[in-house]
Amino acid sequence: MTSAGPEDLAAFTARVEAWVEANLRPVDPALYEGAFRTDLSEEEELAAVGAERALQRRLYDAGLAGLCVPRAYGGQGLTPEHQQALNRAIEGHEFPVRLQAPTFTPCLAVLLEFGTEEQKRAHVPAILRGEELWMQLLSEPGGGSDVAGALTTAVRDGDQWVLNGSKIWTTGAWWSDWGLCLARTNWDVPKHRGLTVFMLPLRRAGVDIHRIEMLNGSREFCQEFFTDVVVPDTDRVGDVDEGWTVGVRWMFYERLLYETPLVTFPSGLSRTFIRSSYAELARAAGRGHDPAAQELVGEARMLDVAFEVLQERIALGVRTGRISDQAAAVARLFKGVTAGRTRTIAFELAGMTGGVWTADDGPLAERGVEYLMRQAGSIGGGTTEMARNVISERVLGMPRERAGDRDIPFREVPRAPSSPPSGLP
């Protein structure tokens, strides 16, 4: 133990609880359900981000930011149990929800594991103070689940690199500061061996950020276009052409999501706000006593409870080494399937109001729009199909799927004869 050993857990808990009560506003947890999907105007959204930056700064000043980050980089050097105590303490209170993912995981996690000493000293404290919000520049248009098939290319030019290409599905890139970018640096080797990771300020010349409109009007996601973006070699993360080594861990941290102790997230948040909503829907639809509606309500709640205990089991198993860390895909799969089913149940409970409603319909309103977005939970953050591949191949050890891009130079990989259509033929 160092001379300044970790703060005693009980004392820490008491201190945190007192601080939270004194400093954080209580909020209705239901508010967070739509944190990334509300119809805030651009100004409102920026203001909300600004408030969260300030909130993060207050956490930092109180010694409550980066509990599991080494002190050398501005963190507290405490244990995951301390983070859990914080997570419990902030239950029912405001917290900087937008900063957790992808800034704290996977970006911060990747930086801590692969960053140079200079990189960590330059960026980790800034992240903990809420000054730098990070994005992951990973998916590409037309790339789907095959992130290692990145086409965005970085070409070396002396002690710097020139990037061209496009990334997509970045949450809130337009209000973020930095991005972690997976780029192709060698087209003449198999795909996993020609990638390199860079860090990239998003407000640099040559970076165009375009907000994507989803079918429900949400504009949370962005697409970035890179045109001759110059990145110094000192902003490279990991070795040249070894980006996939970084990428594997990157995606591991992405799958962990709220399971890493780098993230601050109220315990039981999901439990609280879901608990009553299905029953309310049934009542609002005049079907509180209809057994068919009761079965739907019970099923939805059953799935939520099941997900909660499944997640706990897998987190415990991974932590104790009794379960392969690939098993995070089990929770991801269950969550995706369950999210689809529970949204469908909510839509079913809305009955005819599911398709057409007025603002007076209370909880029944908008259920149809949520239903239209149903698959989002099985697509975003890695599709359920990919999760099934991971479970069968990595957890159960079943034979790998035949790939058409293995062991051949990336430039020779079969691709679509033409750019795929984006609309109805």
Binding site: F221, G354, W357
Partner: protein, 378 residues
């Protein structure tokens, strides 16, 4: 899609398909999304010239089937409307025209306007209750007072109500049902806009507060309209089913093509067995959807005693599996399929809307059980 259409049915369908492809491509639908009416009146009149509102009206009323099987004919149109996610009050205008055409015919001037497309009419049937599309539970009343009919109650959703000059209101008169044609501008008629999942289909909540019209505005017998109401409802359900099958067909074709064009891990999506099997399931749902919509339409034309069951089976199956099919198409497309820019949601919206308008799949499953119970004598 009918397996054995007549030449006239084929021509009807193809003409409409070409017209819709030319006049309401996806870009135009996005424009109409920002339009209050959701469709263009002049465009609708051009469509009416193609026969869009005449098929369910007997020749005596100025309409006419192209094959002697009017409901089957009308589903040819509905299929194309679904395939193109087309705008326009297809369902309400056809059902009001059918109602007028069936009643002697009555109100020939209104009917003529509907046939030419110059007049829009809408049917006010459903109400805000758990089983809002079943006539048994209608709370709106139509009362005979002197020479007038007094309409009192609330109806929702009413399609294109604000565009309609005429509202056909179905209400209760004692223990029977009455249908009455109410000019939309009559005092006491109040409309409140609703939100729908569809880009172009617009609905309103309508309140009728002591609305009075002359008794001549009754369509069919006062207190004796139940059989006609049931028939309109079944026609409406079959049109919705056929429209949804059209949307399923388009989504399926689009996504199958995408699976051939899109490569991942050096292989087309179409080569992945798990996706292949999902396409096999979708194909099965699609063919079953066609079979049910076509069989239900034919059963209505033939006054088959099993028609009620077939119609609800079509509504229940296509409502559920149609939406599941398009949702799986979204899944296969990935994130792009959830964007406003992509066209897939136009179809998803339509099947989602249609499964709620005249009863949800769950309600139609219960309806089938109720029909079985009647039959079983319990």
């Amino acid at each position: 899609m009918l397996l054995k259409p007549t030449a006239d049915q084929q021509s009807l369908r193809e003409t409409t398909a070409r017209f819709l492809a030319a006049t309401v491509p996806p870009g135009r639908l996005r424009e109409l999304h920002r339009d209050d009416a959701g469709f263009d009146r002049a465009w609708w009149e051009r469509g009416a010239e193609l026969g869009w509102t005449s098929l369910l009206v007997p020749e005596a009323g100025g309409g006419g089937s192209v094959s002697g099987r009017p409901v089957v004919d009308a589903t040819r149109l509905a299929h194309e409307f679904g395939f193109h996610a087309a705008p326009g009050p297809l369902l309400p205008c056809n059902l009001v025209a059918a109602a007028l055409g069936a009643a002697r015919p009555s109100h020939p001037e209104v009917l003529k306007g509907l046939l030419s497309g110059s007049v829009v009419g809408s049917w006010c049937l459903t109400e805000a209750r758990p089983d809002g599309a079943r006539p048994e539970g209608i709370a709106t009343t139509v009362t005979l007072e002197g020479g007038e009919l007094v309409v009192e109650g609330s109806k929702r959703p009413v399609e294109s109500a604000a565009q309609a000059q005429w509202l056909l209101v179905t209400g209760r008169t004692g223990s029977g049902l009455t249908q009455v044609l109410v000019p939309a501008a009559t005092p006491g008629v109040r409309l409140e806009p609703m939100t729908s999942v569809d880009l172009t289909r617009r609905f309103w909540a309508a309140r009728f507060e002591g609305v009075r019209v002359p008794v001549e505005m009754a369509v069919g017998p006062v207190g004796g309209a139940a059989p006609q109401v049931e028939r309109q409802l079944r026609c409406g359900l079959v049109l919705l089913a056929a429209e949804s099958v059209g949307a399923m067909q388009r989504a399926f074709e689009t996504t199958l093509q995408w699976s051939f064009d899109r490569y991942t891990f050096g292989r087309p999506l179409a080569s992945y067995q798990e996706l292949k099997h999902r396409f096999a399931d979708m194909k099965t749902w699609l063919e079953t959807g066609h079979a049910l919509a076509d069989a239900a339409a034919a059963a209505l034309d033939e006054d088959d005693p099993g028609a009620a069951e077939l119609v609800s089976a079509a509504a229940a199956f296509i409502g559920e599996y149609g939406a599941e099919l398009v949702q799986d198409c979204v899944q296969i497309h990935g994130g792009i399929g959830l964007t406003y820019e992509h066209d897939l949601h136009l179809l998803l919206r339509r099947v989602t809307l249609n499964r709620t308008v005249l009863g949800t799949p769950a309600q139609h499953r219960r309806r089938i059980a109720a029909l079985l119970a009647e039959e079983g004598g319990s």
